[in-house]
Structures are given as C-alpha cells and as structure tokens.
C-alpha cells in the first residue's frame, strides 16, 4: 500500500516521486546549464553614455582621444563606432584654479560614431533605441567650413536627422514613462582657432535658419516611396511644430531637445566649456 501511495501513473507508466523530481529538475536545469556553457553573457549596454555625432572631419574622434590623452592625436575617417569609458576626472578643467573637489561623480562612456553619410544610421539608431542609454549628445561641427554652402547643407542635414531622432526618442519615452527629461544636445563648434571660423552665436543663427529652410522643403517635397504603409514613417517626417516652418532652439525644447551651442577648439585644448556641459549632464 505504501509503495503505491508514493507513485503516480503518467500515461499508464508508474512514476515514483523522487524520479519525477529529479527528471523535472533535469528538464529545468539542463537548458540553463547549456546556455551558461555555450552562450557568452549578453553585454548589458553601459548606463551613462554620451554620443558623439557630427559630420565628417569635424573632430569627433579627436575629441574622444583628447579627453583620454589630453593631446591632439592624428585621426582618419572612422568606419566603426568606438566606446571608451572615462572616469569623471577626465572632465576636470585643464586649468583647475578653483580647487573644487566634486570628482565624486559616476564614470561615464563616450561613444564615437562615424560621420560618413552612409554610416550615420549607427548614431541615429542609437538615439532612437530607447533601451540604449543616451544622457547627452554632442554634435561636433567644423565651424570653419560652414560658410561654404555644401558643407553647411551636409551639416544641417545630419543635424536635422539627429533632432528628428531625438524627437522620436522623446515621444516614445514620454509615452512609456511618467517623467521624461529633455535630451541635452550640445552643438560643439570645433576648430574656432582657424581664421575662417564663425563665432558660435552666428553659427547658432545660421543653423536655425537653415534647419527652417530644410524643414520647409521637406514638407513641400515628394512623399517617400512606401509612405502610408508604415504609420510611424509619417510621424517622424516633420521636425518640431507642424504648423510653422520656423525652427528655434526654444521651440525644440517642446520636442525633447535641450540645445546649447558652444565654441571650442580641440587643437588649442580649449574644450573646457564642453567638458563642463558634460559634467552638468552627468549631475542632472
């Protein structure tokens, strides 16, 4: 009788309790163990990431290396992104006269992305991917070439894409979470040591008016092929306010981008403004 009580019948086969437990455990544990053995741990993306974006030859990789080595390092066109982890000490001003000791901040990552038009999707998908961290975006531009129309168009085109991506990220985040913070964007006007460099105030105006014109022509332009099949495709077509072609930094705050413009020069090492912007982002 006792024997019978410790047994069940499954599909007509007598099964004892310990055997059942053991087999169940085996069924659960073996896949877990196997995956441990065969699957390398998925990399959890770093949590505090600054994104370095901007057109080609603006100085993204140079800035990354400047933070690391404090010197100007020769670079060529990037073809792949690179992420480097920094300690908060990297953001200390080069001439720290005021002996402030708030280096207790978190370490952060800086992700450099290629600026070639064909590879810009790397940066843009990083922004729109809401699971990836992005606590701030540095859009580095070459302030010496903006007086030439083709380069200005190229720069603004990319900036437009970045702002659209920010807008998309912001709208997705604000739907899912209750409190959404603006995504800080620094337009870092590099190479202001050059003779032809424009001042940051002028660049700011130039970019805003050019963005406005671009928005206008994009609205007037032809539809995308396949538009309408995908609803979100239409959603991210227009940057900012639907009713006006005017784009100002103030207006874009509604759409998730907190924009500031600062001049600097990696060559001269005058990037303290950018650094303090980054440490502000870290503190926020």
């Amino acid at each position: 009788m006792e024997k019978v009580s410790s047994q069940w019948e499954i599909l007509g086969f007598p099964v004892s309790f310990p055997v059942l437990i053991i087999s169940l455990l085996a069924v659960i544990l073996i896949p877990i163990l196997l995956s441990r053995v065969f699957v390398s741990k998925p990399k959890a993306g770093p949590s505090t990431v600054f994104l370095l974006t901007g057109p080609r030859d603006a100085g993204k990789t140079s800035f990354l290396l400047h933070l690391e080595e404090k010197t100007l390092v020769a670079t060529q066109t990037s073809t792949a992104p690179a992420t480097i982890k920094f300690s908060p000490a990297a953001l200390e001003a080069t001439k720290s006269e005021d002996g402030q000791d708030d280096i207790s901040g978190k370490p952060f990552h800086l992700k450099d992305t290629p600026g070639h038009p064909k590879l810009r999707s790397i940066a843009l998908t990083n922004i729109t991917d809401t699971t990836a961290s992005c606590i701030g975006i540095l859009f580095i531009i070459d302030s010496a070439v903006l007086s030439a129309q083709p380069r200005l168009t190229d720069t603004v085109e990319y900036l437009y894409e970045v702002l659209l991506a920010i807008q998309k990220r912001y709208s997705v985040l604000s739907e899912t979470t209750t409190s959404t913070e603006l995504i800080p964007l620094l337009i870092a006007c590099n190479k202001n040591d050059l003779f032809t460099a424009l001042p940051s105030s002028k660049i700011s105006l130039l970019l805003q008016s050019e963005l406005g014109r671009m928005k206008e022509t994009k609205r007037k332009g032809l539809m995308n092929a396949g538009a309408g099949d995908d609803d979100d495709e239409d959603l991210d077509r227009v940057l900012g306010d639907e009713n006006s072609d005017l784009i100002t930094w103030e207006n874009l705050k509604e759409f998730g981008a907190d924009i500031s413009v600062q001049s600097g020069s990696i060559k001269n090492g005058s990037v303290d403004g950018w650094k303090s912007w980054m440490s502000n982002c870290l503190e926020a």
């Binding site: 080609r56 690391e68 020769a74 792949a80 450099d112 007037k220 995308n224 092929a225 396949g226």
Partner: protein
C-alpha cells in the same frame, strides 16, 4: 620612396604612422570613404590599389583586430615591395600589439614601432636593390670606420652586400677573411638538405665575415638557427648579398665552434628564451660544424687561428641586453615574430589533423551545439550555405548577377570572424549583415533635396537650375520629366521644358501635350510652364544651350531638358552626350532606368555614367515603372551599386503625382522580404 605609412583603427585613430614626406590627410580619408565605406573600386584596380592626386595607396586589413595598414607613395614610382611590406608589417604589428589592441576597446595604445618598421623597410629595399633609407653621409662614416680588411670584404660583395655593410659595425681588424669560394658550396649543400622553414636566417646575410667578438658569437647563433632550414623561406633577407655573406660567416664561425663547446651551450640557452632555434641540440650542431669544417682545407686553416672566445661570450650577453647592436637584435626579433606568426598559421592546420579522435568528436559536438545555441565564431565555410541562399534571394529580387555576387562577397568577408549571438543562427546573422550592406549601398552621400538646391541657385547665382534627363529608349524619360515638372509647378516655380529629342518623330508633340496639360493643371497653383522647341533634325546640344540662355533671359527658375533615348552600348549615340553636357552644363543629370530591366542595368548605369566625359558624372537615377515589379526592385541595388550614384526619384504609376523619393528602409524591407 614611400611617402607615408599608417596604421589606423576602424574607429579612425591613427595608431602609428611614419611619414617620409608630407601627405594630406584627405588622401587617406578619401581611400577610407571611397573604398571601405562606399565600396567603390577604381576601374582597373581590382580593389588592390587606389589612386588619389599623384599618390598611389595600397592597403591591407586585419579585420579581427579592426586595423588598416595603408602605404602611400608617388604614383610615378614602381615600388614592387609594397605588398610584401604591408604583409610583413601587419604580421609584426599584430604579433607585437594585437592583444593590447583587443583589450584596449577603442582606446589608443602606445606603440614604439618605428625601429621595427625601419628595419623591415630597409631589408626589403636592400633585397629588391632599391634605394636604401640610409643617407649617403651615413655610408661615408661607415666606410671610414671600416678597416682595410673590412673594406676589401665589402668590395668583394655585390651591391646588395655593400648596402648592408653600411649598417654593420666595423669588422675587427687583424682578421683576414679567407677565400670564400671553397666554403660556399658547403654552405649551399647544408641549406638545400635542410627541411624545416626558418625566418631567423633572414638576418644572417648581414653578418660580416670579420666582426668584433660579439658579432662572431651572433654569427654562430645565426648559423645554429639557420642550420637545417631552407633559405627560400626567408622573409627579410636581401637575396642578393645572401650567399656570399653566408659563406663568409660560415668560415669565420668554424674555428670558434670547433674550439669552444661550452660557449655553444650558452648560446642555446639564449635562443631558447627567444623561442628560436631552441630545439637544436648541441651534438647536432657539433656534427654539423665538424662536417662543414672538414669539407675544405681553407676552413681548417682558419680554425688554426686563435679566437677570443671568452670575449665572445661576455659581449654576446651584454649586447643583447643593452641593445648595442640595435639593428641586429631587431632583425632577430622581427624574424622571430614572423616565424612565430608563420608557425601559428601552420599550426592551425596541423592541429586539426593531429587532434585525437576523442577531442575531435568533442569539438565536433560542441560545434554542432553552437550552431543552434550561438557563440560560434564564423569561418568562411560556415557562411557558405547561408550566403548562397541569400544570393539566390537577391537574384530572385531581380538584382543583377554581377552586383549580387559582389555584395555577397563583401558581406561574407565582413562576417568571417564574427560570433553568433545567443540562439542566433548563421542565416539570421547573414540576413542582418545583408540588410546593413543594402542600406549602406542605398543611403545617399549627398543631399537630394531638389527644392532646396533650386532655391540656393536662385538666391545665390540668379540663374535657372538646369536638369537634364537621359536614358535608354522607352524607359519613360518624357513621362518622368513631366512628373518632375508637375512637382516643381506645385511649388510655384517657373519651368521651361526644352525638347531636345530631335530624332524620334512625335517626341516634340508628346512634350507639347504634356506642357499643355501641366499648364492647365498648375494655373491655379501659380506655377508657369513653357515649352522650348526647335523642331527635328537639329543638334540637341545647341538647342539645350539656347534653351538655357532663353530661360536665363526670361527669368525661369528651372529648365528641364528632355533628350533622345539611346542604347547605352551604341558608341555613336553615346558620344554626343559629352558635347551635350558641355553645352547645356546641367546642374543635375538624371538617368531614367526601368525597374523591369534585369542584368543589363549594371552596364546601362556604368555606360551612361561614363558618357559625359572625364569631369562629369551622373547625379542621380530615376527608377521608373516601380509599380510593375512589385517587390522585385533589385534594379535599384544594381544601378546604385555599379556607380555609387543615388536614386533620386521613383516612378510608381502613370499619373503626374506618381513620383516618389526613395525610402531606404522601405526598399531594404522589400528586398529582404
């Protein structure tokens, strides 16, 4: 001479560079963006070289380390050893810094590669009999130091030997190099009888016949390393000077070897540390020298002369640690590294064969599991099947065979060495890589905002914006022209249509109908359209020129020029396009291509792209009849891939409104579905 050599990471950091003459960074930048990013090879280069300005660039990739090695030199020079240099530097660099680079994760690493590079390049140049990096002044000082005996020795050798002689320390005076000829056959004999490959012997030719004590010791070491190895395998050594140098070093070392057995033991230890020639036993060496020495009487005579062995030992040790003979040590080191790299390559193959049955089975089982679970490092063989599958898929989507093959090849290249993710099959990995590749191909590199450009030209230069449309017969040039015209009229622009198809009857009338329709349609919108026609039989280029002048005078915003359709492989018709481009000087030349066309699309695109002369290329494609092919839009890929020119518009129907811009995401989605 080489102008510049750079080692660059894919993230754009110049890890190491050596520049002999100033070269603009834009030269290498254009290599990277043209060849690596846009994957456009220059005609005739077969992807092996790249010409920019007056430079020729050659490169080699180390994909798993994310490194690019680029050599830049003047195109006028025929440098035959560049490939070898690249290969050698790549091996050296990876052996020295490969681990460091892998661990650094994008951060810059410090490397002191100069001396290795200098040494490599010098030996290569020496071998090919080219110019030597050492300036003449250096040579002069060297000859000053050389004693009577030494200089005689130098003169004995050929030019190659002469060259390395500069780099040598002065030979020890008082030691007479004996006649070389008798010993040479012996040396040769040992070399040919040998079987195992060696890189160490590479530096042996630089050993002079008569050297200071340290040199003799080194010579001995070299011989011990070289012994039993074929000479052909050497990477570094100058071939020209090799044989005589071998001979001379052979003579010199024989007495020392005969006399001092303990010394040999010490040498072996040193080399064991370096991982080179450690396997050679003492007895063997003795045997060797014995037979070698016995073979000729001259060498016996040599051996009678007393040798300062004690000094040999001491200097040997100090020399290596202090690096007095920098070049010498470096050569050894480089040879060692290269040899290791080669052994690693060879080892990989033999290990597969030699592994036991059990371990082979276990590896096989793990590999089998990894196929499902992921974490497998891909080899070319692994991807073969999936690539073949995706290639068929592309061909089914009407991608031209030529383009499909090349795209698949580059995708396969990019996949080798990658790891599959957790529970990711090879197929899905290949699919993702292919999507990336297609997206990269279709993504334009310039702004395609036509309205913006027209506005800029109007504001800046106060002249009409000229667009001309070319293409094969019957692809829809006039239809698409009128669609573009309608789009421009919607934006309140003043458009002049120039009828430059003066060949096909009815072409002008057709445009007249379009112009009439468009005028009616756009009257309310505020656009103005006019037709500029000069009948049939006239020269199209002249009409186009006149039309532009007329538009300029009348204050038109845009001139749209329709041209006669022409077969892309008809030289006579295509040649008139060059004149046309010169006369009309259009801001945009758009080529209309049918989505229906199959493998001919590649040639069409190429021929039209080349038809406008040296300085003018197409500016964009209009792919017409997209509505008739469904998701088989492979022509898009074929044409863009063949030329690197973006798709500006898609024709998706018969109405004036059926014009679209390309959405890369949509196109890639269709192609991969």
């Amino acid at each position: 001479m080489l102008d510049l050599f750079e080692v660059i990471t894919t993230s754009g950091v110049v890890i190491w560079s050596k520049s002999y003459a100033p070269v603009k960074t834009s030269v290498i930048n254009s290599l990277i963006s043209d060849v690596f990013i846009e994957e456009r090879t220059q005609p005739g280069s077969d992807g092996k070289w790249f010409k920019k300005d007056s430079y020729t660039l050659k490169w080699t990739l180390a994909a798993d380390f994310g490194l690019v090695f680029v050599a830049v030199y003047q195109s006028l020079l025929q440098l035959t050893w560049i490939d070898e240099l690249l290969d050698q530097v790549k091996k050296l660099f990876i052996a020295l810094y490969g681990e460091k680079i892998k661990n650094s994760k994008g951060a810059r690493i410090q490397c002191h590669f100069d001396k290795y590079f200098d040494s490599s390049i010098r030996s290569l140049e020496r071998r090919t009999g080219g110019t030597v990096a050492t300036p003449p002044s250096n040579a002069a000082t060297a000859t000053n130091q050389v004693s009577v005996d030494g200089s005689r020795n130098a003169r004995d050798g050929d030019e190659g030997e002469d060259n390395y002689e500069w780099l040598e320390p002065p030979p020890m005076p008082g030691v007479n190099p004996s006649d070389k000829t008798p010993s040479r056959p012996r040396n040769h004999a040992t070399d040919t009888s040998s079987t195992t490959p060696s890189a160490i012997e590479a530096s042996s030719p630089s050993t002079p016949a008569t050297g200071p004590p340290g040199m003799v010791a080194q010579a001995l070491l070299q011989v011990s390393g070289r012994r039993g190895r074929p000479r052909r395998s050497k990477k570094l050594a100058g071939h020209s000077g090799a044989s005589s140098a071998h001979a001379s070093s052979g003579e010199e070392r024989s007495p020392g070897r005969l006399n001092g057995k303990p010394k040999r033991g010490k040498e072996m230890r040193v080399w064991g540390d370096d991982g080179i020639a450690a396997d050679a036993g003492d007895e063997q060496k003795l045997d060797y020298s014995g037979t070698g020495g016995m073979s000729t009487d001259e060498e016996y005579d040599e051996s009678m002369r007393p040798r300062p062995e004690a000094v040999d030992q001491k200097t040997w040790g100090t020399k290596t640690s202090q690096g007095d003979f920098v070049l010498k040590d470096l050569d050894f080191e480089i040879d060692g590294i290269l040899k290791q790299a080669k052994e690693k390559e060879a080892g990989g193959e033999t290990r597969n064969g030699a592994s036991g049955l059990a371990s082979g089975l276990a590896a096989g089982a793990i590999g089998y599991f990894k196929n499902f679970v992921g974490g497998k490092t891909l080899t070319k063989e692994d991807t073969e099947k999936a690539i073949a599958g995706i290639m068929t898929h592309l061909l089914e989507k009407n991608v031209a065979k030529e383009a499909a093959e090349q795209i698949c090849e580059s995708v396969q290249k990019s996949l080798v060495g990658q790891k599959t993710g957790s529970f990711q099959s090879i197929e899905s990995l290949v699919k993702i890589a292919m999507e990336d590749a297609l997206r990269k191909i279709l993504t334009p590199t310039t702004s395609l905002d036509l309205l913006r450009e027209i506005g800029q030209i109007r504001e800046g230069e106060k002249r009409p914006y000229v667009i001309s449309i070319v293409g094969v017969n019957g692809v829809g040039k006039s239809t698409n022209l009128s669609k573009i015209c309608f789009f421009l009229l919607q934006n309140k622009l003043k458009v002049l249509i120039a009828a430059c198809d003066t060949f096909r009857s009815g072409a002008v009338e057709q445009l007249r109908v379009h112009a009439h329709n468009l005028k009616e349609l756009s009257e309310r919108e505020g656009g103005v359209v006019e037709l500029y026609e000069k009948g049939y039989g006239k020269d199209a280029a002249n009409i186009a020129k006149d039309a532009v002048a007329y538009a300029n005078g009348q204050g038109f915003d845009v001139v749209l020029i329709d041209t006669a359709g022409r077969r892309h492989n008809d030289q006579r018709l295509m040649s008139s396009l060059e004149k046309f481009a010169k006369f009309a000087n259009p801001d945009k030349i758009l080529m209309v291509g049918e989505a229906l066309v199959g493998s001919d699309s590649v040639q069409q695109a190429r021929n039209f792209n080349a038809a406008f002369g040296k300085d003018r290329k197409l500016d964009g494609f209009i792919i017409s009849k997209c509505d008739t092919v469904g998701d088989m839009i492979g022509t898009l890929i074929s044409m863009v891939f063949a030329t690197g020119i973006p798709v500006v518009f898609l024709g998706v129907g018969q109405n004036y409104t059926d014009l679209r811009t390309l959405n890369v995401k949509w196109a890639v989605g269709l192609l991969m579905s």
